[in-house]
């Protein structure tokens, strides 16, 4: 159904008739914009948010260094987008569902995923909840309501609509937030998800991290419109654009969005304007597609520094605390990393479990055949051989000796 009136000469529109403002509260120097009021955020919660941002930053730096040392096969940083991810997570109920893309480890940090839990996944060891099946950074946590990451882009978006529809029927007052980049918003799944959420009045928050790049493709080659936000009009959905490096604005916007979602079953689109300060992943080198100057300009807008200055001004955080936190964080990250990389791999059986609820006879035959083969050639399959006979240390399973390999 459309609501329309008649005209008697051709009249085209482009969408440029609409101007979508950007919601901001905090300036880069840590003071509020004129006329802006800080959201209702006490010291304890503000510090929890900031510390999660700091932990995420340090974890990312350390793990990227570990990747460069060859200790880790792959890594992705959240750097530059911590305020967007953690500010949004902090505005939710801890039992709300998070369906993220892959750069949202900050949400897990905020909800209390431990360093050991991170490391076990990154090293795919026997304690990894995902049983060593997925590449690093594909975290998941049932107890923290964080859906296991899946590499295909945007598939989580219609799933979030479905998950939230189930939450609505359950009537327990929960919602789902789904994170994605402006590149993933080009996928068909994005459009399907928003349309279905609007039609079926689903309590879901679509949180777009518009960080400027999809690997190397700049936003200017991703869409012709004024960002992602105007798409909400096409689905008659509430939308807000927010400064993604402004943790207070993100927090307040998401808080309001959650209220609309849970109390009125209104889906909401949030477009957070931010910048991916790091490379897309450990396999990417941005120097081939963007300038140092551009990166430096965004480094000036660092969301951590912005919040840190605000906290300093309030007297809620100090340089001494910052320094001692950074030091102990680095130490803890290194210690847990050493623990995780020494742990054995998941058992060979985990190759065939969880394909179905029960291992099928055909899969059992395949596993048995594989075991027989590995027993013939144990040296060629050190991890599998180790799990068949854990007391015999298989050749080739020597572990890296630790941070004396060069911790810089």
């Amino acid at each position: 159904m459309t609501t329309t009136h008649d005209v008697y000469s051709p009249s085209f529109m482009t969408g440029d008739e609409f101007h979508i403002p950007t919601f901001r509260l905090l300036q880069q120097d840590g003071t509020l914009h004129e006329g802006a009021a800080a959201p209702d955020l006490d010291q304890q919660k503000a510090l929890k948010i900031y510390q999660a941002m700091l932990i995420t930053r340090v974890l990312d730096e350390r793990m990227m260094a570990a990747q460069r040392q060859g200790r880790l096969s792959f890594y992705m940083q959240c750097t530059g987008e911590e305020a967007a991810v953690i500010g949004a997570t902090a505005a939710l109920d801890d039992a709300d569902m998070i369906m993220a893309q892959y750069r949202e480890q900050g949400a897990l940090v905020y909800r209390g995923f431990s360093y050991d839990e991170f490391m076990n996944q990154l090293f795919g060891n026997e304690l990894d909840y995902g049983k060593g099946r997925q590449m690093p950074i594909h975290y998941g946590s049932r107890k923290l309501h964080y859906m296991t990451i899946s590499s295909p882009l945007a598939t989580q978006i219609p799933q979030a609509t479905g998950y939230a529809y189930g939450q609505k029927l359950a009537g327990e007052g929960h919602c789902t937030i789904t994170f994605f980049g402006e590149g993933a918003a080009s996928e068909g799944d994005f459009h399907a998800a928003l349309n279905m959420a609007s039609v079926h009045k689903v309590p879901v928050i679509f949180f777009c991290r518009n960080n400027g790049y999809a690997i190397s493709t700049p936003a200017s080659e991703q869409f012709a419109a004024d960002g992602i936000a105007p798409r909400a009009f096409g689905y008659r959905m509430h939308v807000i654009r927010v400064d993604g490096n402004d943790v207070l604005a993100v927090y307040q916007a998401t808080q309001e969005a959650r209220r609309m979602a849970v109390e009125q079953n209104q889906p909401v689109l949030i477009e957070a304007m931010t910048y991916r300060l790091a490379a897309h992943s450990s396999s990417d080198d941005p120097s081939g597609y963007r300038s140092r100057k551009e990166e430096e300009a965004w480094r000036e807008k660092d969301p951590l520094l912005r919040m840190q200055r605000w906290l300093y001004d309030l007297g809620w955080w100090s340089e001494e605390e910052e320094k001692s936190w950074q030091e102990s964080l680095r130490r803890e990250v290194l210690e847990t990393m050493k623990r995780a990389e020494k742990r054995p791999p998941p058992p060979l059986e985990s190759l065939v479990t969880d394909v179905y609820a029960d291992v099928t006879p055909a899969l059992q035959r395949q596993l048995d055949a594989l075991k027989t083969h590995i027993r013939k050639h144990p040296d060629a399959y050190p991890k599998g051989a180790q799990s068949l006979d854990p007391d015999v240390k298989a050749a080739g399973s020597e572990l890296p000796s630790g941070d004396e390999q060069g911790g810089a």
Partner: protein, 325 residues
């Protein structure tokens, strides 16, 4: 015992599942007040409300993405894809998401509650895009289960089992039989096993294997063969994935001959997989090469549909060729 056609049996199964468990939801294109273009979901919205039985926008990838999320949340979605020919926009959601949900999360999350219902197959003058049998694409994807009923009794029992199965199931419904196949179906709740083939007729000379609408075609071929003095054993595979190797192998060890038939094109069709396994496990017992009677390696035609389809005469000729080898 009441007589039902296949649509009534499916509708009855959905009704039982929805009455039993509030978490069961039915949705898809035109599924709501209209009851689906084939009427498989008739009156379900009336009975269970718009929250539990509803129309979706016309977007298959959205339907299955939505269904995956619902299943992960703990609901029991029964999503309809209006024609199997239109399932491909949802291929990514099915193959990369549905099938891998449990595995990739180490069983933290699963979408075992999901059932995807979709009409498949030819014989209704549907041309390229209302006739396809895409089961083999999905059979190549560990994590999915695929079931195909051959008659109303099977449809009800297998669908109820699919909905309650702890793994996601694609339920291919032979739409040519929706109204054409009528039989006795108990009113009460019952289930038929997923993953088990059924020997529908015992015989000693040759084994005939198929599923879904082909079972009726096989039965007609068997009539001709038995008149010619050939004793046929007939197996309905019922579940394409995981498929019941043991029942098929046991039969071929006895008869020494196998004809497999499906409507889908030959190359890459599921008959190839079965043939490969049977030759591995029955090599010294085979009296003749395994025959495949399938669609041609072409898109599904329209005017020449009868020529394309693997009908009873083609199967009968394959039986004779196998016997005379």
């Amino acid at each position: 015992m009441p007589k039902m056609n296949m649509l009534q049996a499916i509708n009855n199964a959905l009704d039982i599942a929805m009455a039993e468990d509030d978490k069961v939801l039915c949705f898809g294109e035109d599924v709501g007040v209209f009851g689906g273009v084939f009427r498989a979901t008739s009156h379900l919205q009336e009975k269970y409300g718009r929250d539990r039985c509803f129309n979706t926008p016309l977007v298959e990838q959205g339907i299955i993405g939505f269904a995956n999320g619902l299943a992960a949340q703990g609901s029991v979605p029964v999503a309809e894809i209006q024609f199997a020919d239109y399932i491909f926009p949802a291929f990514d959601q099915i193959v990369n998401e549905t099938a891998k949900f449990r595995y990739r999360s180490g069983d933290l999350f699963n979408v075992g509650g999901l059932t995807i219902r979709t009409p498949y197959g030819g014989g209704i003058s549907g041309g390229l895009y209302h006739s396809q049998s895409p089961e083999a694409y999905f059979a190549h994807t560990p994590g999915l289960k695929i079931a195909v009923p051959r008659n109303p009794y099977q449809a009800k029992g297998l669908l109820l089992a699919a909905i309650r199965d702890p793994d996601p199931v694609i339920f291919f419904e032979p739409k040519r039989l929706y109204r054409a196949s009528v039989g006795e179906v108990p009113e009460e709740d019952y289930q038929l096993p997923i993953g088990e083939a059924e020997v529908t007729k015992e015989g000693s000379d040759i084994t005939l294997l198929g599923w879904g609408a082909q079972m009726e075609v096989i039965d007609r071929a068997v009539e001709l063969a038995e008149k010619a003095g050939i004793s046929c054993e007939v197996i309905d595979l019922r579940t394409i994935l995981p498929w019941d190797e043991d029942t098929v192998v046991e039969s071929v060890l006895k008869t020494g001959r196998l004809v497999i038939t499906h409507e889908a094109p030959r190359t890459g069709g599921f008959a190839g997989e079965i043939a490969a396994t049977v030759q591995e496990r029955c090599f010294l017992y085979l009296e003749s090469p395994i025959e495949r009677v399938t669609g041609l390696d072409t898109p599904f035609p329209l005017t020449l549909e009868k020529e394309y389809l693997p009908d009873h005469l083609k199967i009968f000729e394959a039986i004779k060729a196998s016997m005379a080898y």
